[in-house]
Symmetry: C2
Subunit: 329 residues, 2 copies
C-alpha cells in the first residue's frame, strides 16, 4: 500500500529533523507538517515562532546544524547593537533570522492569520511542503517551576532549563481552534508521525488545542511516534530532565504511555531494543539518531516502509487492536 | 552677553551637522535640538524617524559621514535577507541602525510618547544634548508631484527626488500640538538657530505644528537662519531643485523670504557675499559648508559670537527693527 498523505506533528529540533527526512523521502506535496506554536513569544516587539522557523529552515536546508536553531551563515550585528543600547540580548536572534520575524510581525499586525503568514514565509524559502501552525490563536507554554511560573523561552533559553519543572500549562489553548488546513490534512492523512520531539514542550501544546486530540485519535491514519528518548537520555533538550522532575521514568515507555490511545505503532532506538515487548504496539527498532540529511531520510524511509507494511497487511481502521502487527524487528 | 539656552531647529543632514557643531561649541546642557518628524514613516512594520536618528547619530559621533544618514561601520545582513525573502529593499536600513528602530517601535506600541522614546534613545547613546521631536503625534510630509502624491520617503529615496514638486502638505499636523518640552525650550531660549536644512522638507513640517510658528516668532530669543543654499546650489538634497520647480529663485534670499518674520538675522555663505545688502537683516557672512567636526564647530562658534554681539549690543526684544544691527561683515 502506498501512503500518499503524511502528517508530521513537530516541535523543536527533533521535529524539524524528522520533517526534513520525511520531505526527502516523500514525493513533493505528500507531507504536511503541523507545528507547535507554544514556544512562540514576543521579543523586541516582534512575534517569534521558533518551532515554525526551525521547521521551515530545515525544510529549506538553510538551518544551522551546529546550534539546531537559527540559520546557517548567520551574523549578529543587530543583536550587538541592541545589547550596546541596553536592550535585551539573552535571546540570540541572528540578523538573517530577524528578517523573517520582521515580515511575520508586520503581517500579523495587519490582521493576517499565522497560517497564511507561515504559508507565505515557507513559499518565500521555496519550500513546497505545507507547514501549518497548530492554531492561529496565540497559545503560550507556561512552565511551572520551583522558582515560579516562567514563560517558555525564559525557562528554556534565559534560565537554560535549570529550574525544576513541576507542571506545564498552555495559556490561551482554551480559546484556540483547529485551523481548517490542519483539520483537512489530518482527516486526509494515511499516516501521522509524532516526531521525536519533547512530548511536554512540543507535542502536548498541539494536543492542547480543543478537539485536536480527538481529531487525531479518530483520524483513519496510522499513528506512529518516534522516541525522543534514547538510552535513558533525550537526544537534545530537557525531555529526560523533565521526566525525572515530574516523577516519570526516563524511558521510551513513558512516551508510549503519555501518547496512550493516540498511537498505533512506535519507533524505538536500537539502544532500547530490550523494551520491545513492553511497548505493546507494533514497533520499529532502528537507529533513530539523525545527524545529516542522509540519516534523516533513511529513518524516514524506514518509518514509511514500516507503516506501509502495517497498513497494507490489514486495512482495518487504525487503532483497532486487530490491525496491530507484530513488530517488524 | 552670554547665550546660555540655545535651540536649534533641525532636519536632514545639514541640520544634524549644525547640531553637532553647536553641541561641540557649547557647554553641556546649553543646546536643545527640535527635530523634524515629517520624514518619519512605517517600514518593515517599524516606525522609522530618519531625522531624529541622524541628529542623535551626529551628536553621538556614530554617524556615517560618507552617506549623511545611518551609522558608521554599518552592515546590511538583515536587508539582504529581507530582499532574498521578497521584502522591500529600497530603503537601505542597516543592521545597527535597525536596533534603534526596533527599540523605538516596541516602546511606541507600548504607548510611550515619541518624546520619551527619543529621550531614552539619545541617553542610550550617551548624548547629553536634549533632542526633541517637533511633536508626539504622527505628521507625515506628503509631496504633491507631477506623478501624483508621494509619501516623503517614496519621493526622496524610492524615486530619488526625480518627480517635479508642485506643493507639499504635512498630513496630521492639524491634530498635532507643541510638546511641553519644546514649549519650555523655545520659551527659555536666548537664541534659536534655523539650521541649514531644506526649508520645505525639514523646517516647514516643524512650523506646521499648530501654534509652533507663533511660539517661535514671539519667543524672546534671537532667531537666526543659516542658508542651505550656497552659490545657487543646495549643499545636499533637493532644496534647489524644489525651489526651481515651485517657481522660486534659487537663492538664499528665497530662504530669507520664506522664513520672513521669524528671522532676526541670517548667515550667508562667502560665495553669496554679494547678496549681503539684499538680505535686509543683520547678516553673518562666512564659510557655511560643514565637513569635519572642526568645521562644524567653527561655524557654530561664529554664529554664537555673532548672535552674542547682536544680543549684547541691544537688549530690545528680538524681532524689533531697532534691535537689528548692521551686518558684522
Amino acid at each position: 500500500m502506498t501512503l500518499s498523505h503524511i502528517v508530521a506533528l513537530a516541535g523543536g529540533v527533533g521535529g524539524a529533523k524528522m520533517a526534513a527526512g520525511l520531505q526527502a523521502a516523500l514525493p513533493g506535496g505528500a507531507l504536511t507538517v503541523v507545528v507547535n506554536t507554544g514556544d512562540d513569544f514576543e521579543h523586541w516587539g516582534l512575534t517569534i515562532c521558533p518551532d515554525l522557523d526551525t521547521v521551515v529552515y530545515n525544510l529549506a536546508g538553510v538551518n544551522n546544524p551546529a546550534t539546531g536553531w537559527g540559520r546557517v551563515h548567520e551574523t549578529g550585528q543587530v543583536l550587538q547593537a541592541m545589547s550596546d543600547l541596553g536592550g535585551e540580548d539573552w535571546f540570540r536572534l541572528g540578523d538573517r533570522d530577524l528578517a523573517l520575524h520582521l515580515r511575520r510581525s508586520e503581517w500579523l499586525r495587519q490582521g493576517i492569520s499565522l497560517s497564511e503568514v507561515t504559508d507565505r514565509l515557507r513559499r518565500s524559502f521555496g519550500v513546497s511542503t505545507l507547514v501549518l501552525p497548530m492554531c492561529d490563536e496565540p497559545v503560550r507554554t507556561l512552565v511551572h517551576t520551583d522558582e515560579g511560573d516562567l514563560p517558555f523561552q525564559h525557562y528554556f533559553v534565559r534560565r537554560r532549563c535549570e529550574p525544576l519543572v513541576i507542571d506545564l500549562s498552555y495559556v490561551g489553548a482554551d480559546e484556540a481552534r483547529v485551523p481548517d488546513s490542519v483539520f483537512d490534512a489530518v482527516s486526509a492523512a494515511d499516516l501521522i508521525v509524532l516526531c521525536p520531539s519533547n512530548p511536554y514542550l512540543s507535542i502536548d501544546p498541539i494536543l492542547s488545542v480543543p478537539a485536536m486530540r480527538r481529531l487525531l485519535r479518530d483520524a483513519h491514519a496510522w499513528k506512529i511516534a518516534v522516541t525522543p528518548i534514547v538510552g535513558g537520555e533525550a537526544i537534545k533538550g530537557p525531555a529526560a530532565k523533565m521526566m525525572r522532575e515530574m516523577g516519570q521514568m526516563i524511558s521510551p515507555l513513558t512516551v508510549v504511555d503519555h501518547y496512550a490511545d493516540l498511537l498505533d505503532a512506535f519507533v524505538l532506538d536500537n539502544a532500547d531494543a530490550v523494551l520491545h515487548d513492553a511497548v505493546q504496539l507494533p514497533t520499529l527498532i532502528t537507529d533513530t539518531v539523525m545527524t545529516d540529511l542522509a540519516s534523516k531520510q533513511r529513518l524516514a524511509q524506514e518509518i514509511l516502509d514500516f507503516a506501509a507494511g502495517l497498513a497494507g497487511a490489514d486495512d482495518l481502521p487504525a487503532g483497532s487492536p486487530d490491525a496491530r502487527l507484530p513488530a517488524s524487528s
